[in-house]
Symmetry: C2
Subunit: 165 residues, 2 copies
DNA sequence: AATCAATGTAATAACTTTCGTTATAACGAT
DNA sequence: ATCGTTATAACGAAAGTTATTACATTGATT
């Protein structure tokens, strides 16, 4: 099984808040336009991010904004906020190992630490990335995009990009 | 979403093969008795492990055995064999980010490397564990169990375990 | 060659989770 | 009071997991 798209949608939300936050009110409809999923899905995810203390959402008037500095919001915070996993465990366990079998009786004891190690490795890497990285990255990408189109000569000189005709 | 229990079932299978392989023929019914899931589930997982070259399964006569040395079978090999994830990607992506939006147009470029890093961290940790670790671990646990019951005095002397009454 | 225990695999269904959609109440500024 | 918006419930469609039944096939044994 894969981790649900709520996580990438949430990351998309943060990137959009950075790019458009100054010029637009970040409503669920606005976000739904960029992400192209139903605005109720967006609102549910916004609620989860709000409950986790990562953003503030204005009722009535509308709009979302960060509740913390971008450097203080890690990918793990976002993942934990939107991915509602039972017990926070990444690996699902078969439910009824046989207690009358030496292996069945000990399988949890055997695996739990190892599986936790693996999950920890993932979560530790998730904590290395923050919304600040997201913001820097999306700004660079959009910047590169506009310089490609508007001052293509520079781009050619630097990177030798082949332009058609 | 969690990773499916096929992974822990597969690990259970390897542990059972180690503990019982010398005294019993490891059939899907035998395994189903320890894991307590339907034997067809077991057979499907055995087939996936066989297709990945990790075990050999005897048709007709029945029974499963390792196809490689225990040290050469990593948790990642097992995970990859049984967890049929699209493109091998851990993170599901929302399908239709808006190409007319600068963020929607760049979100994949923005996230793909970061998400791959996170997935790599998990898979790298998975590669550190092998079936040999599994075997050593389950043998230790079962050994500790029997010494608790049969020569409880030793266990008390060593670990100061509290026994009731 | 017939038997038998076992695997391989298809088909179906129950169950769970995700995602989409509609509907409605509540909010807050104007 | 109105209007745009959020909050949330309810329902359903779609996809994935797990369980179960069924049956053809295999290969050793007799």
């Amino acid at each position: 099984m894969q981790i649900s798209s709520r996580f990438t949608i949430a990351l998309h939300i943060f990137a959009a808040m950075d790019v458009f936050g100054k010029d637009y009110k970040i409503t669920s409809d606005f976000l739904a336009g960029s992400i192209q999923v139903n605005s109720v899905i967006i609102r549910n995810i916004l609620s989860q991010l709000r409950n986790a203390g990562l953003i503030k959402v204005s009722r009535g008037t509308g709009g979302a904004e960060l509740a913390k500095a971008p450097e203080e919001i890690t990918f793990y915070d976002i993942y934990a906020a939107v991915e509602s996993v039972e017990d926070g465990k990444l690996f699902r366990f078969h439910k009824n190992p046989n207690p009358d079998c030496p292996v069945g009786r000990n399988i949890h004891l055997l695996l739990d630490d190892m599986l936790d190690d693996i999950q920890d490795a993932m979560e530790k890497e998730m904590k290395r990335y923050t919304v600040a990285d997201l913001n820097g990255g999306i700004e660079d990408l959009i910047g590169a995009e506009t310089s490609e189109n508007q001052i293509g000569v520079e781009a050619e000189n630097q990177a030798g990009t082949e332009t058609e005709a």
